[in-house]
Symmetry: D2
Subunit: 361 residues, 4 copies
């Protein structure tokens, strides 16, 4: 099979690096160009990662592939969409607003940026949860008169939450959710990122814009492709001294009463949308349930099933909310919650025929 030629824009940030790792040996997609800001264009990738003291900023546990290290980057502004079958985007929202539509005129853009997540004709898909929203793509292409389209993934904090709510919604209905997150520093990227001076021996009780994103995105993902879900969502997002893996303490009000045991059983049995199964990046299980009250822990559980599963434990009934249950989840913010999750989405769209398959096959 001929692989799809892919360009990655925003290649040097933490999210971009995760795309490099996720695509390093991909069976369907091949990274044929890396793009970054004008400042870094013309530099080999490994050089561009260095800070002003010469220290590498490769923040991914997998080693940097040698050919990528030496790959000379081009400027994001100068990417010619026609040279590629597909673009992955890891740029900041402001840059995404300009670059993504330009590319989408010609090719599909799978994006980790928030710029277009909230547009009505843009699907916000977590493959096991709402693969059916892919139907919006046709409407988007028609309306925007593009050969390509933009398909963003949600914020990394939304991902684990929405995955945990999906089986509850299907089994019992969800009325409302209150969530407090304890988020990893890798989610903040590099600029400004989280300095050791800020987070050592500390908790930072605020992450700019995060709570609003989670509230809107959760409703969009759990809704239909034409209307958001009516559930209430309220959250507090904090940063803790953890490298990778977001932990979330979740309290849910269900439409029908369910015991902790019933909730655990529903999580255990959940298989996710058919369209999300068996893809190269799909885990064996979307949800890993723990009985040990000391689990999940981000350091121990973030990498389970390749960082693509959501680990859930401490399932208890909640005495305060109507038909309340509560639990703690851990989700890998830079794997399922970012680049690997975006690659999974690309795989699903490819499988469904949305990705230049006429050209590619």
């Amino acid at each position: 099979m001929k692989k799809l030629r892919c360009v990655l824009i925003g290649a040097t940030g933490v999210a971009g690096q995760q795309f490099v790792a996720a695509l390093a040996k991909h069976p369907w997609f091949e990274l044929t160009s890396l793009a970054a800001s004008t400042r870094n264009a013309g530099k080999p990738y490994a050089e561009a990662l260095k800070n002003s003291n010469g220290m590498s900023g490769w923040f991914v546990s997998e080693p940097l592939p040698e050919w990528v290290a030496q790959h000379v980057m081009q400027s994001g502004d100068e990417v010619r969409a026609g040279d590629f079958d597909l673009a992955f985007s890891a740029v900041e929202a402001e840059v995404a607003k300009v670059l993504e539509p330009k590319l989408a005129a010609t090719i599909p853009v799978i994006s980790a940026a928030s710029a277009f997540r909230y547009e009505d004709d843009v699907p916000l898909i977590i493959p096991p949860v709402n693969s059916v929203h892919a139907g919006l793509i046709e409407a988007q292409k028609a309306r925007r008169q593009g050969k390509g389209f933009i398909a963003p993934i949600p914020n990394c904090t939304t991902t684990g939450l929405a995955i945990s709510l999906a089986p509850l919604e299907q089994a019992f209905g969800v009325k409302a959710v209150l969530m407090t997150s304890m988020q990893a520093v890798s989610g903040a990227g590099r600029s400004p990122g989280v300095t050791a001076l800020d987070v050592t021996d500390n908790v930072i009780p605020h992450i700019a814009k995060e709570e609003g994103k989670v509230e809107i995105e959760t409703k969009k993902i759990l809704g239909t492709s034409s209307a958001p879900h009516a559930l209430g969502v309220s959250c507090t997002c904090t940063r803790v001294a953890v490298l990778d893996g977001h932990t979330e303490a979740v309290h849910v009000s269900l439409k029908k009463k369910a015991s902790a045991a019933e909730v655990a059983a529903i999580f255990r049995e959940w298989k996710g949308d058919v369209a999300s199964r068996g893809l190269p990046s799909s885990p064996n299980k979307w949800i890993e349930v723990h009985d040990d009250p000391y689990r999940p822990q981000p350091r121990l559980d973030r990498d389970v099933h390749g960082g693509m599963a959501t680990s859930i434990g401490r399932i208890r009934e909640d005495s305060v909310l109507e038909n309340g249950v509560k639990y703690v989840l851990v989700s890998h913010n830079t794997k399922m919650g970012a680049a690997k999750g975006a690659v999974l989405l690309a795989e699903m769209l490819y499988q469904q025929g949305f990705l230049g398959n006429s050209a590619g096959k």
Copy 2:
């Protein structure tokens, strides 16, 4: 003024050490004896703190007073209550069950242990919140036929929560509260404590028995001396890599609607019970309100007003709960939440004539 002669039982644990620091230069109370387990009896205090590798386990930021370092400890079992006017207790709950009643037959016992917190005739007092519960002491003495009594302080995680709820209860009424804590390692003490192997680059999603304590204690403290408050309380308690200072994300359902600004104003104006003001350990303010959304942070805010104030920020309305508001608080778990809070309670009881004042004055 002649100071009250005090004995400290459980002197070598983290809580015991905090009592040593809190009483080091106290104007009313004088530590005249330190007691510990039989294993440590006969040893100078500083020796008993060492682990099997000879490393000191003095975990308090204030230096260990020289006379305490050299003080030869007695066994808790052999303390003769008649030699003292007052006992402070920092022993484990199992030990407290035996030792505290023995001492209370003769002298008042101010305790950080949980053993008697849930008895009907035992008040659970945070001085600015429910000083009026001290009235239970007479009933306790009568029923238990003691010259002394037991007055415990609440769990360190309850303290900040109850302080933040008290002004809300007074102004608006509180229907229910959902809380997620991110607790400091000092709260776990030394045995077993929290190892660096567990908590580095991690969050531990469970603290044994903690959630149940917070739920029962909050109701007892906010209630009358004869009946617990009817509010709902649901929480998730986690451990993070912070040395001191518990952070809590709180969602409250009020009886009357209030805006974030009204809630902030109520917190700012709150003065606490009259009986709690002007004591040697009282802070200038019980609650410090932050407008900066990045505050409070445990490292920056735990020591404000001598570690005796609760810092509150991120006050927002909550769209999910009825008349909902939400905020984040930081409370120093080993100061206001433990030994210094117990000393504050002793000060209030002394001021009110409950502490051997006939002898002492």
Copy 3:
């Protein structure tokens, strides 16, 4: 091939856990019994790992094999050597003094304990460095009239240092070494271990007995089987907030002058003793050399080649010492420096016919 039946004594400590992981799927050795203190005898292994709050103390990144979790442990005192072909020992030195000779009367004992490291007839072997010392085993058996013997591995801090010195000794001769270590918390085990209260935001400048061990062991390992090497060794051992992987800053005085480039080349080319190559636990390379001045780092480099390689970087000439060179190394303290290193030693001894091969083959 029939696997050798192995008993592990001291199975519940951090070192013991690493043995469990290292032996989980071993091609030659099979763990048929786990032993621990009398207190834990009769308990399933997973139960014995829990602390008094019910929290598991499994500190190894690999998952605990299910059969081991449920394996009912016996008391170390009651192990019948005749039931096994080989014993691995991860007990404390005091216990080792008693148990290891008892077992060694019948079977070989491969030990991570320090109890017998300094005996003249006990070899202290790092397979790539001094495999030839295995010759001492015959003398030991003769002198102690045992069917088995004791073969300990060195302290985890010695291991990386000695491996880095071996190629220098062979190429240039080593006169003296000064070393400062920054050691991981996993090296301290669990009892007393390193609490988060001690090491967070901190460096602990002393590790009990560690410096003396490194000084004596380095001389023994680099010497002949009958006499220690005459080099000078001076070190300062400290503890830092790192989970796994010891970092050592090393300054060496060579007998012959060598440039940094020559030293780097010698490290790159070094293959270790023939006897150590191609064993199941042998890495592809014993030494990984870094040109990037920001490497090696314990988090990034500890697991290279399965945690069995020593990573060396920052190779520079030293202007102060005679024929001085200096470098920084990282060595995995619980893999090559402990259990996996002990299994490697067992493999080498098996290959050379020292391990019950008459019975086993």
Copy 4:
């Protein structure tokens, strides 16, 4: 007394913030203007500290004085030296090269930057160690034809080392020193600073240019004002997960043999240069000696004597170096090692009549 009017250039960096804290209530010096880069000119100081997410970057434990928070900064380029009696400089070396000479044409510049440290006519003074080097100032003024002059302080890693070597030099003579540092993250400032992603669960074995600075500066400080000391200096500088306080493991070769006890006694008795005593920022003791082998620790000892003392422990003889001794020290890198150390230097120069005293007195 009329206070000297001071301008601070480079006010927003971590070092600049420390100057703000050190000068907040100074009896002799008054900060009358704060300058920063053109980008920040015109902004209130507190605004300029915020990162792109609105998070404050005030990294000093003392609270930010309200008047400073609201002080509108000017551009460093536009500072008119004639408006001030004295300048403090906390700018980067590149900026210092341009700005410091411009200011020094008119007023004295006390600088934390490295730009002029290595010039022959520029003294590099630690007041208790080499106050006599102040004599170079006259030569500098003559040669550079300035009314003012530049007086830099050393690198924060040099400071503690040189202070520990001074009494040894005076008592025994020092031939050579080998040092490994474990440095705090605050030393790296904010740009690029040290991200939590780099240093959590890690050691970084290199700090750009640091080792060269320590080697040259130590020789200059311990030498005469006309020639560097001939001692050998070799070091390895690493970064660890510590907020404040550099730890250094030091091995020294003395000219005359000395026991550990003699070295400890010399440290205990050392009083520093007469010129350095009794200044507003002078500590009661320059060196604090520890007998407990687990001290000094940066978290416990960095703030002793206001962060102005060097804590030394683990004093032992070194068997490898000629007349060798070894010890571990902790020095506060942003107090004695940076801004407060610079203020101390200004105090000493003021006392000696070097600072606009004609105007000031």
